[in-house]
């Protein structure tokens, strides 16, 4: 159109209009130089899963040490370094960025876009994450950080932890924080501006909603962490006294700034997993999601309220009753939209025709175990009760029910659900089911008894305990469970490696999905879509299948009890 207009207006004269076509780069160069959201997504996923394995190995070492009273498997300094690395890795290098990986791959596909809004910024975000991770792990070669993933001063100050590992931790978190902030900006710009025609806010897939809120939370709270980290660095090396009470500073300042970031970080980690569940359940129950608006609104409500509850991590610090009461009530308020989600999910299963595939198992598993984390959260929100429970293994159990039960189950559901789209091949169902049950049993073995260990007085972050304390049985069950859990995770990793080559070919839409990513080939071509359909509901693929059925007379809808895909 444009060329003919131009041709009409300008005097014709011979000219060379051909450009050199960029040769598509291949091999590792194509990965290192890519700005394609799908390749970046896969880089994210690969990197974060490597860190997941590292963090998991650290957890197993911790569990071996605690497997017997007065154990001498690990020295106290090694133990402290390992739990610091474990926490930091799982939060900053696995759960938060793994969702950036899934979102990178899926958000443009789900909203019918060609790529992310800022492809180069996107590549930059990924490489910053990798370098941040390398900075953290480089500290293994000198002294790893050992003040816990929360790194409270004064302990994290130069006087008590002089090693360079603490500085590596600070710098690494700065870099990773920048990476996730830039990623957040990119997701917001993409979701706000690049949705397919007809894809209004009321038709945005729920995973899209969760990534939107995830991104807003990251952009709002990460600066608080960055500020706290900068203050800690200044205190350590440039004569600052932000956290030094003898010079008019306050050790509590760090706790407030840190939790102002790290509590919303819990929702940064959990909301996208909830988004995954909200995508998976309707597909496998063959039913529309129950209460789309309520689920989208509860995501936003959790995000907003999540900004107002940080001090419930600090109930045992000196605080006036008014402040205690405020943070208890704000924490209670969050339970309401969270409960709404759970009820809506169960109502989605209700009267469905549920196909027992691995993504469904992990999603249903998430509801079942996350509920326990939610309920133990109510106990912890009641501050007089919190005085007994905080800083004990009850909290360790609670946070793992939320972050493993809530987030990691969702990550596995997402992996099984979208792997066919990303690779063009199905993951093996038998291995998937085996993996699910091992993870389910191993997870509950590991963490359920930790509630009891905490209730009978076992504090967190202790490298040893005496046999007379009465915690031995709990810890032994926990250690055995952690190995079952590790085997379960290993089965899935094996499944991924095996299925990349040997998995059944998936085709564009193996699950009969609802959202636009299933409209294109698996894996999608570089331009994602040749034509972008007009979106008329929250389940555009259902509309498209119905239309094809009408035009061709060939049955497109899935029938209950018939296999979705042969695996």
């Amino acid at each position: 159109m444009l060329t003919t207009d131009t041709a009409k207006r300008t005097i014709a004269r011979p000219q060379v209009v051909a450009h050199e076509i960029e040769r598509p780069s291949r091999g590792w160069v194509s990965w290192v130089t890519t700005t394609d959201h799908k390749k970046i997504g896969i880089l994210y996923l690969f990197t974060t899963f490597v860190f997941f394995v590292l963090g998991g190995v650290e957890a197993l070492l911790l569990r071996i040490q605690l497997g017997a009273p007065d154990n001498t498997f690990l020295e106290p300094d090694k133990y402290n370094q390992l739990f610091t690395l474990h926490g930091t890795t799982m939060v900053f290098l696995f759960v938060i960025p793994v969702f950036a990986g899934f979102a990178n791959y899926l958000i443009p596909l789900m909203i019918g876009a060609r790529d992310m809004a800022f492809p180069r910024l996107n590549a930059w975000s990924y490489w910053m994450l990798l370098f941040g991770g390398i900075v953290l792990y480089a500290s293994l070669f000198f002294t790893p950080p050992e003040a816990g993933w929360t790194s409270y001063p004064p302990l994290s100050g130069k006087d008590y932890v002089p090693g360079g590992g603490m500085d590596a931790w600070i710098i690494a978190l700065h870099i990773i924080g920048l990476s996730s902030m830039l990623g957040g900006v990119n997701f917001i710009a993409t979701i706000q501006n690049m949705r397919a025609p007809g894809l209004g806010w009321g038709r945005l897939p729920l995973f899209g909603w969760s990534i939107l809120i995830y991104s807003y939370l990251i952009v709002i709270v990460s600066p608080a962490l960055a500020a706290a980290l900068a203050m800690l660095l200044i205190d350590r090396h440039y004569g600052g006294t932000f956290f030094d009470p003898t010079q008019g500073g306050s050790a509590l300042l760090w706790q407030h700034a840190f939790w102002f970031y790290s509590h919303p970080a819990v929702y940064i980690m959990a909301l996208p997993a909830f988004g995954v569940v909200s995508e998976v359940l309707p597909v496998f129950a063959r039913k529309p999601i129950f209460g789309y608006k309520a689920i989208a609104a509860s995501t936003a409500a959790i995000g907003f309220l999540g900004l107002l509850v940080w001090a419930h991590h600090m109930f045992s610090t000196p605080m006036s009753t008014v402040v205690l009461a405020f943070f208890m009530l704000s924490s209670f308020l969050i339970a309401v939209p969270t409960g709404v989600k759970i009820f809506n999910w169960i109502a989605t299963l209700w009267q469905g025709a549920i196909e027992y595939k691995t993504p469904l198992l992990f999603s249903a598993g998430l509801i079942g175990v996350f509920l326990i984390g939610g309920i133990s959260g109510i106990f912890l929100a009641v501050f007089p009760v919190n005085w007994q429970l905080t800083d004990t293994y009850f909290v360790v159990a609670h946070l793992h029910y939320v972050l493993f039960g809530g987030s990691v189950f969702g990550i596995f559901a997402a992996l099984y659900y979208w792997f066919p789209k990303m690779s063009g091949r199905m993951l093996n169902e038998r291995m998937g089911r085996l993996s699910f049950w091992l993870i389910m049993i191993g997870f509950n073995l590991t963490f359920l008894v930790q509630h009891s260990a905490g209730l009978s007085g076992m504090p967190r972050r202790v490298y040893e305990y005496s046999a007379s304390a009465g915690w031995t049985a709990y810890n032994q069950i926990s250690t055995v469970g952690s190995f079952v859990l590790a085997i379960g995770i290993g089965v899935t990793l094996l499944n991924v490696v095996r299925s990349l080559k040997k998995g059944a070919v998936a085709g564009p839409d193996p699950w009969k999905g609802n959202t636009l990513e299933w409209f294109t080939q698996s894996p999608p071509p570089e331009n994602n879509f040749d034509a972008i359909p007009r979106v008329r509901s929250v389940e555009p693929m259902k509309d498209i299948r119905r239309e094809v059925e009408k035009e061709t007379g060939v049955l497109q809808q899935q029938r209950a009890g018939h296999p979705l895909v042969k695996v």
Binding site: N80, G291, G339, I375, D391
Partner: protein, 303 residues
Amino acid sequence: MSPLTPARRLLRLAGLAALGAVAGSLLASGVASADLLTPESGGSPNADRIDTLYKLILYIAIVVFIGVEGALIWSLVRFRARKGRVAAQIHGNTRLEIGWTVGAAVLLVFITAVTFVQLGKIKNPEASDPGGLAGARPVYASTDQPPPPGGRALNIRVNGQQYIWRYQYPGADVFAYEEMVVPEDTTVTLDITADDVAHSWWIPELGGKFDALPGYVNKTWFKASEPGLYEGQCAELCGRNHANMLARVRVVPVARYQTWFDRQQADIAAARKAGAEGRRALEQEGGASSTEGGTSSAPGSDQ
């Protein structure tokens, strides 16, 4: 559903056996320790009231847990795909959704109300019992913790240091490390602080934990009516030996407390005197031979 193959049956059996083993070992450990499901208590009224509050939430939680997990599992089993089943195409139900939103909120309002009814008795120190320490001094209202009615309490300053607790008794040069000796039936108020890094004071049977932070004074109290030894340990990561920063409270009859207090006072005075003499002797010696300029801290010095 196809009949179970032997392999599957075996798998199922193994699963059941594993579940049984877990339940068994849990029960066994439950016998070993009474605190399978509830926090420790029994030493002090505030710990008991926290336990009561906890139990109330626990009962509500059990009902919610069974209800929600039941609905989930029932839906998963009842509505699994079978040939010919058609999923009901329901998009939502506003009344139902408002219903469970309000339902969840009502439960939380109830817990809130009970918490605030209980709060005063947990947070505010009680009066000492008539048999308590007669000489306990009045304490004056702090920012947030009122003095006990009648004003009599034993006020001890708790100071966390890597990796030991120091207790400063009021009114005299009396202090102790690690083990705090207190009289029975007497309200003991604690002013908790730290010298170096953050610690957390916690004796589970005597109530909740309170962080010891340099630059801040945190407050709590307890009143033990049963003589005995109550054990706890630092609950906030304070460094490599955090696991061995132990705390003990020994509750003794009032008369024995007085004896202990007097002896401790005499011992400390004697140690200080000996220390001062030793220092003087060293200083004189050091003055004579100026090549050895070592400083030595006196034994019994309080830091």
